[in-house]
């Protein structure tokens, strides 16, 4: 099983891709997932260094860093929104 990761705005630019998949066999808190992602590249490390500058959604709903991520979920990581 896998998790789809989506990145937006400067997170996307620093990570260097707008979408990737990583394998996931068992549920994991969002915080632990993001910490693991930092090791994937220097860009990931930079983009994901400071959780206070980031927001996340699991399956298109805003989620806190303690929320569980399950195999098959769609996880998005992005800065605070600035639409409207």
């Amino acid at each position: 099983m896998a998790v789809a990761l989506l990145y937006f705005a400067w997170v996307r630019e620093q990570v260097g891709t707008d979408r990737e998949e990583i394998p996931l066999e068992a549920p994991l808190p969002l915080r632990a997932l993001v910490e693991a992602l930092r090791a994937r590249s220097p860009g990931h490390g930079r983009a994901l260094a400071d959780l206070s500058r980031l927001r996340a959604a699991v399956n298109q709903e805003f989620a806190g860093w303690d929320a569980p991520v399950r195999p098959g979920d769609e996880v998005a990581i992005f800065p605070p929104v600035t639409g409207g």
Binding site: R12, A57, Q60, E61, F78, P79, V81, T82, G83
Partner: protein, 145 residues
Amino acid sequence: MFRISVQAERFDIAHEHARLSGLAPRVGAVVVFTGQVRDEPLMLDHYPAMAERQIAARLADARARWPLLGATVIHRFGPLDVGEGIVLVGTASAHRAAAFEGATFLMDWLKTSAPFWKKGASGWVEAKASDDAAAARWIATEGED
């Protein structure tokens, strides 16, 4: 009567107003808010599926709080020039208070929960604490109503 669109194309104020106003004879008040690009051109990044979902949720919240007869939310993405419309929120109701408050509520929540990100010549626009405060006041008054 309730319409959401996330689109790259420009929107047409007269058309959107006429759609809400045309819900006569019960409509007595229509409010149309438009946000437009100030100062410098912008590029709007967005998360398409979540945008539709969040806007639909906010519209459901507004309908639960005010007797709206119709409402429209349009949010654009992509490159936008100075003066171009970014977002349109329209509401129709029998009386003006519901139309004004419903539209204000929708805009306050779109600012803080719709997944769009603006980039200008000097980089990504920072989120404003005042926008969080504007949305939060609707929660603060929920217990009082």
